[in-house]
């Protein structure tokens, strides 16, 4: 038996009827806005600049400031270790070459285990100096020397080293390493402005006062003082050239340093010049080149302005 298959010819496909039914709807034209007038362009650029500065300020104070603090601490720690090993860490307001210490020179290392705090203390306490870490107020003795020593630290920005100061319970101990060795302190307690202060120091006693801002982070409403008494031996006193009367107000708690306003003016001028250049060149060069060229310039300009504004804020922020 054989099966025979026959090839059945496929019926020819009927030709498609021509598409003549409904005409294709025309493409919707892209939305076209009226070109901006020069005044509106300027207004738009101005608002962009304000937004840029605001954004840069937030980024600077909330993110970059901590990075900057970490770098400064590392540099200060390197210097401190070197001077400690060489025995040249300052024990007064002058260094080994009889030169007055500059703001930012390391003078000690504070270690508060209960708070996980391990920071280099630098000389000076204005806003710019406290960006590097806790700062020793110039008119007071160094920690461990007879008298009252005052160290200020930021509560939120630039690492916020003293942000948790309020959590330190009375009686807890911590150390400060200075050029005279390790000084051991025991906390007395915290206080706000107006609270009763600890008793006057007797001759030959030493006390350390740590100061920082209180209130919401970045929105300080006052100052916290943490008193601590020296438990270890009192060291010899180093000479101080700065007195309370000659101390700049910007070095006191919540002090504001306006000496860098000129730099803010220059920074703003730079940013305005960049914006004007953007306005003038954008129509000729096109959006792609404009973007490539001006984004870095405006970013750096915005950060520069933001940094200068930060310098004008209270030193304990």
């Amino acid at each position: 038996m054989s099966a025979v298959t026959e090839a059945v010819p496929k019926p020819a496909r009927p030709a498609r009827p021509p598409k003549s039914s409904a005409p294709r709807p025309p493409k919707r034209p892209p939305v076209q806005y009226l070109p901006l007038t020069p005044g509106r362009k300027l207004a738009r650029a101005s608002f962009q600049m304000i937004a840029l500065v605001f954004l840069a300020f937030i980024i600077n104070i909330a993110l970059l400031s901590h990075l900057q603090h970490a770098v400064s601490q590392q540099l200060a720690f390197n210097e401190l270790r070197e001077q400690l090993s060489a025995g040249t860490l300052p024990v007064s307001e002058g260094d080994i070459d009889d030169i007055l210490l500059s703001d930012g020179d390391p003078v000690g290392l504070i270690d508060i285990p209960d708070l996980g705090l391990h920071e280099v203390i630098v000389e000076g306490s204005n806003s710019q100096t406290l960006m590097a870490g806790p700062g020793h107020r110039r008119d007071t003795v160094l920690p461990g020397q007879p008298g009252i020593s005052v160290v200020l630290g930021r509560a939120a920005a630039f690492g916020g080293p003293f942000s948790r100061l309020q959590e330190l319970p009375p009686g807890s101990e911590f150390t400060v390493v200075t050029g005279q060795g390790e000084q051991l302190f025991r906390t007395i307690g915290i206080r706000y402005a107006g609270d009763p202060t600890p008793p006057q120091l007797a001759s030959g006693e030493s006390r350390l006062v740590l100061q920082t801002a209180r209130g919401l982070p970045y929105l300080p409403s006052g100052v916290i003082y943490l008193d601590a008494e020296l438990v270890s031996d009192v060291q010899d006193r180093g000479a101080r050239q700065t007195t309370y009367a000659s101390l700049p107000a910007s070095d006191l708690a919540m002090g504001v340093d306006t000496s860098t306003v000129w730099a803010l003016v220059f920074a703003l001028q730079f940013l305005i010049a960049a914006e004007l250049a953007l306005l003038l060149t954008a129509p000729r060069t096109g959006p792609r080149k404009t973007w490539i060229v001006f984004v870095p310039i405006l970013t750096i300009g915005g950060l520069w302005v933001a940094t200068q504004i930060t310098l004008l804020l209270p030193n304990l922020l």
């Binding site: 007064s92 007055l100 100052v223 000479a239 708690a253 960049a274």
Partner: protein, 241 residues
């Protein structure tokens, strides 16, 4: 062909390269812009018996103590005692130290619930007197309005040199993401030797977890994204056919 329009931009870049960025270098190296200490201080040295600025090399060694120049002048510099700061009242015999507020927030399923546990330590630094008083805890929202009712505890008999910790639970946190706890210790004047001691307050900001608010926020965000995507796809398909 070089684009002339870019010339100002190149100029700006050059300016940027030259421009000093003080804060990025904010550091210890020193000479930064005539820092304050430099010249302003010396003139005042007239008050100080020792005009020479510094420690002698021998005395600045770590172990050696600083005596150096401080001692060399004979009389100590006048800067030590001037007390730094805030002008507070010196105590008499009854000196009380109040620690910072230790507080933490706890969420509840009830969106109007939630509570904050707070504690504060009172230390009696007096040598002879027993301390007593009232501790009042209050809770405030970020706008400064009080939440719930205050909680008070009476503290009795803190012996000289001793401390006591007071705990409190403050309810009705609700959906506030941040609340402020204020603890006020009001000493009992009859028990302490300082009859005019003012109340001492401590405050602390506590972050809470407003879960209902977060859920609503996430739902709104998700709805917005879905609606946006669907609308986008409709317009694309509509224009394509």
């Amino acid at each position: 062909m070089p684009n002339v329009g870019l010339l100002p931009v190149v100029g700006l870049i050059a300016l940027l390269a030259v421009a000093p960025l003080p804060a990025f270098g904010a550091d210890p190296s020193g000479e930064g812009g005539g820092t304050l200490g430099v010249t302003v201080i010396d003139p005042t040295a007239t008050e100080s018996p020792t005009p020479t600025p510094s420690p002698s090399p021998g005395t600045s060694t770590p172990g050696g103590g600083s005596g150096g120049s401080g001692g060399s002048g004979g009389t100590p510099t006048p800067s030590g005692t001037p007390s730094p700061e805030p002008t507070a009242v010196a105590e008499g015999g009854g000196w009380i130290v109040v620690s910072g507020v230790d507080a933490s927030a706890h969420a509840q399923f009830n969106p109007f619930g939630g509570w904050v546990s707070a504690s504060v330590g009172i230390s009696n630094k007096s040598a002879t007197d027993t301390a007593r008083g009232d501790v009042t805890f209050r809770l405030y929202d970020p706008l400064g309005r009080q939440i719930g009712s205050k909680v008070s505890h009476t503290v009795t008999g803190i012996a000289p040199g001793e401390s006591q910790t007071v705990n409190a639970r403050l309810d009705d946190v609700g959906q506030w993401p941040l609340v402020r706890v204020v603890a006020t210790f009001t000493p009992d004047a009859s028990e302490t030797s300082t009859t005019d001691m003012d109340p001492i307050s401590r405050e602390s900001w506590v972050p809470a977890f407003p879960w209902v608010l977060l859920v609503v926020l996430i739902l709104l965000l998700a709805t917005g994204i879905i609606v946006g995507l669907r609308r986008g796809s409709f317009t694309r398909s509509g224009s394509g056919t």
